[in-house]
Symmetry: C2
Subunit: 178 residues, 2 copies
């Protein structure tokens, strides 16, 4: 599996169940959402802008995509509505097989743009490491079959030793395209 195949497999609408474990105080949070992932053009303004921000040549981009999500959490019994959209731009490293950068308009842990380092494991698992100012995130995404995706996200202290939140999403495909 290379990044292009991984993105292709991800395109579509997904129903997601996410559980977040807030480890310090053993809290369980449950989130249900619908996620849309759609391919976008390498020439889209949002892609060109992200490339400029990170001094990346737009020709180096492979399979940019847009992700949007809408859901609700049981956190604090508030049934908080979660909604967002982000453009994600893979930039493979020409010198290392199945490794590269993933540029994002907006990260999960912060609201600023973020660039992470990705690699793909031998079994097709996509691994993404992102450093933020005050935290780092480690994410693993893999397909169980073409219609079921799992995603584990760990939010760590910026020193990288302590895990603050561990969350798990199971994502079931609803349709092939948005």
């Amino acid at each position: 599996m290379d990044i292009q195949e991984f993105v292709e497999q991800s395109i579509g609408q997904w129903r997601s169940q996410r559980s977040a474990h807030h480890l310090a105080f053993s809290h369980f949070e449950a989130v249900e959402s619908v996620i849309n992932i759609e391919a976008i053009s390498s020439e889209a303004n949002s892609v060109i802008d992200l490339c400029k921000t990170y001094n990346i040549e737009p020709q180096a981009v492979v399979s940019p995509f847009k992700m949007s999500w809408e859901g609700h959490s049981d956190w604090d019994d508030g049934e908080e509505v979660l909604k967002g959209t982000s453009v994600l731009v893979p930039v493979p490293d020409p010198t290392r097989l199945n490794c590269g950068k993933l540029l994002r308009e907006q990260g999960y842990a912060e609201t600023m743009p973020a660039a992470g380092d990705y690699h793909l494991l031998e079994d097709g698992t996509f691994v993404l490491l992102t450093n933020y100012d005050r935290a780092s995130a480690e994410e693993k995404i893999w397909f169980v079959n073409p219609n079921v995706r799992c995603r584990v996200s760990l939010i760590k202290t910026s020193a990288g030793s302590g895990v603050v939140t561990a969350s798990f999403s199971s994502e079931i495909r609803q349709s092939q395209s948005k």
Copy 2:
């Protein structure tokens, strides 16, 4: 990481938060438990007995261990108590690096003994595939650091296509030994 190192790292007492996603009806189950993992002798009766059941030479065994757990689930608001113990016996395949069988006194999905096939990925993730009569299980366990383990378990229909339950445990070390 080989199976011996993996078991060594696992020895100790762990506090576990587990979320199970019952996918067909989008149910979230939350389980809190304490898990003890302790090394046992290759010559223990329980190990010898399991070897006999599966026609394995006891000399082929590496790092057998005993796992016990006690916890409670919020399933059905019943605060069901979960408690159990199982002997687990790794039997490396001499012809394939970091692959082998894992014999178990008792599986998760069934109450019968079960033998699964394990392998270790390049990043140290332990992967276990087990076929039961009416289901199959796919489990991934990895260390985020020496004191944090993640575990994803998928229960599939025996045909292997549909995922029935996806569950995620985050496990925090409480002590080095039981």
